[in-house]
């Protein structure tokens, strides 16, 4: 890990006790995000990407156990006293959740939910905080921002609510914004607008950003680096251009192939990934993807491949039979 990274996750493991046994949601994950950089975390439902984001934010369920280090801005978050952590959250570490229908408090006005963070961290008086709230709402593209302050979340559409949630996250100029599937709950037509808004504000404010998504298309043009997660592990990590130029991990390839294509002939069946992810309470001995992988052979079923670099130093993958440039896809 480079010492300059704003956030570095080192050897993070999240264990959840369940009635069926221990569930390892995040399995020895290493990540780093430099100041002002963007990282995309991609994977299907249940791969541990949301647990990873909650682990970074220290918002894991009470029963979950986190080990490893989460270094943010020179501080180890899991070891931080509650009060110090509180001053960091919302101030320099902000988050946008997946579902704006449930992430805003239904009984508090938009104005209250926006100004309370600024009053808490920036010590603004109510008048100044309201002024700034209006500016923020305008910046995230909400028409008539002044009137919105006295409105409640249910009076706004889903897209508008997500814009409000983004305004809340941006309100104290955080150094890092974690967007956990920020567009999954929204209409397709709104998705691109919200993603563009996030990208624009990220660049304007020089903040680092982690976008968590199940959609490789979302991270394609909008991130500096992509980490692909499967069954709690990072299975491929590379700078975005080199990942899309040459993906090495068969899972990444399958994930990309599963995206619907606009230019496909009508009624073409979607190339879905057959099978399902392994039961996280019953870890496999070999590569977790091997039962679903069409390249699986030999030691794939008996030995876990490590995440390591091969041809390029910044392109890491965990696979014994990586896809090579010449192979047909």
């Amino acid at each position: 890990m480079s010492g300059a990274a704003l956030l570095s996750v080192e050897n993070a493991v999240v264990d959840l006790p369940t009635p069926r046994g221990n569930l390892r949601a995040v399995d020895h994950v290493d990540l780093a995000v430099g100041a002002g950089k963007t990282l995309g975390i991609v994977g299907e439902s249940g791969c541990g990407k949301t647990m990873l984001s909650r682990a970074i934010l220290q918002l894991l369920p009470k029963k979950a156990k986190l080990s490893g280090r989460v270094m943010f801005d020179g501080q180890d978050l899991p070891a931080l006293p509650a009060e110090k952590l509180r001053r960091l959250r919302g101030r320099s570490l902000a988050v946008v959740f997946q579902d704006p229908m449930t992430s805003l408090n239904p009984v508090l006005t938009i104005g209250t939910q926006l100004t309370e963070t600024m009053q808490e961290h920036l010590e603004l008086d109510l008048g100044k905080a309201r002024q700034r709230a209006i500016e923020l709402l305008a910046a995230v593209g909400i028409p008539a921002p002044e009137q919105r302050l006295s409105q409640y979340p249910h009076q706004l559409s889903g897209g508008m609510r997500q814009r409000v949630a983004i305004a809340v996250a941006l309100s104290c100029e955080p150094k890092l914004l974690i967007a956990d599937e920020p567009t999954t709950a929204l209409d397709v037509t709104i998705q691109a607008q919200i993603l563009d808004l996030l990208a624009r504000e990220q660049q304007r404010r020089h903040m680092a950003m982690i976008i968590i998504t199940h959609d490789l298309g979302v991270v394609a043009g909008r991130t500096d680096e992509v980490a692909v997660m499967y069954a709690g592990r990072v299975v491929e990590r590379a700078p975005t251009p080199s990942l899309f130029k040459q993906m090495r991990m068969p899972y990444t390839e399958a994930l990309l192939a599963a995206l619907p294509k606009l230019d496909a002939a009508p009624h073409t069946p979607l190339p879905a990934i057959s099978g399902r992810p392994p039961d996280p309470t019953r870890p496999l001995k070999g590569c977790s993807f091997s039962p679903r992988c069409r390249y699986s052979a030999g030691r794939c079923g008996t030995e876990k491949p490590h995440l390591s670099a091969a041809e390029a130093p910044d392109h890491l993958y965990a696979c014994f039979h990586p896809i090579t440039a010449g192979a047909d896809a």
Binding site: L59, A94, V95, F97, T102, L104, P106, E120, Y152, H154
Partner: protein, 316 residues
């Protein structure tokens, strides 16, 4: 909002009509009508028939009902044939006692139940939470007459801090009035707080699981603000409901507590009316109490709208 209030007010009309019909029918179903009661068991059938005719008791029930309703709409609820007091006089004499008792009981109940509920929800599953939930359950099963006697024994007999029974109007001697009120109010509150605490606790535990609480934490808000603003406000709807129901129930007075502590409230008025078969008083008081209950529920509905903007805007 005005439209919302008007619509809710309109709903009250059919409910009040239904209440008046029920009250009247039930009173009429009681065996032996007023003529027998007034004349006593020595009366001849001719005398009874004559009195029944004079009082209009031989008319069909719907005619009697509309006659009664018409009088009520003119503000005449009738007059006790025993004391000569009108229903309105009797009720307005007793209401301040029951009302004061109800207010104190509810305030004490909330003062015990709400902080305990918040503390338990914040530390759900802890030893404190389990102890308090257990005590609440235990308190629920203690009957009022038992806690009344225990409180009298402790505070009036042993410690001699407070009078055991009696009543002085607030306007005569406020201090003495409050001293008389403490024990009965506390007795009722001991039965009220467990319900308040259990309902609010479980609503708050549910609210604390919500996404918006996770976001409030992620915003770095103080734990007290998360608990009291972000979690308490959306959890308070059921609390308002049961407080409203409790108040409505206590408007009718509490027969046991008013009897034990010798408080001249609505509850004792009703019991007295039943003993003396004073049907006019009984009918009138039951109707007024039921109306009070219905109006209390209307106020609860209004409070919902204040607490939850989604109801105010007709989304829920």
């Amino acid at each position: 909002m005005l439209f919302f209030v008007a619509r809710r007010l309109l709903y009250l009309v059919p409910v009040l009509i239904a209440v008046s019909v029920l009250t009247f029918v039930i009173a009429s179903l009681l065996p032996g009508d007023l003529a027998y009661v007034i004349l006593g068991d020595q009366a001849t059938p001719e005398n009874v028939a004559a009195l029944r005719h004079d009082m209009g008791l031989d008319l069909p029930i719907w005619q009697r009902y509309f006659g009664w309703l018409w009088q009520i709409l003119q503000g005449d609820f009738g007059r006790s044939f025993r004391t000569g007091q009108t229903v309105l006089q009797a009720v307005s004499e007793r209401v301040p006692v029951s009302f004061e008792l109800m207010i104190f009981a509810e305030l004490i109940g909330l003062a015990i139940g709400v902080p305990l509920a918040i503390a338990c929800a914040a530390k759900a599953g802890s030893a404190f939470d389990r102890l308090m939930t257990g005590s609440a359950f235990g308190m629920l099963s203690v009957p009022t007459f038992l806690s009344a006697i225990l409180l009298i024994y402790l505070f009036a007999v042993e410690l001699r801090w407070l009078p055991a029974t009696g009543y002085v109007p607030f306007t005569e001697d406020p201090i003495a009035n409050l001293r008389f009120m403490v024990l009965p109010a506390l007795t009722l509150a001991l039965a009220e707080w467990p319900g308040i605490m259990r309902v609010l606790r479980s609503d708050m535990i549910a609210a604390l699981q919500e996404d918006y609480i996770a976001l409030a934490k992620a915003k770095g808000l103080k734990p007290s603000r998360i608990l009291f603003v972000h979690a308490l406000k959306p959890s308070s709807l059921t609390l308002v409901t049961i407080t409203g129901i409790n108040i409505g129930r206590l408007i009718g007075g509490t027969v046991i507590v008013e009897t034990i502590f010798a408080l001249p409230g609505i509850g004792r008025l009703l019991v007295g009316a039943i003993y003396t078969r004073d049907l006019i008083i009984l009918q009138g008081v039951v109707l007024l109490v039921a109306a009070g209950f219905v109006i209390m529920n209307f106020i609860v509905d209004m409070l919902y709208a204040v607490l939850d903007p989604r109801i105010r805007h007709g989304h829920a």
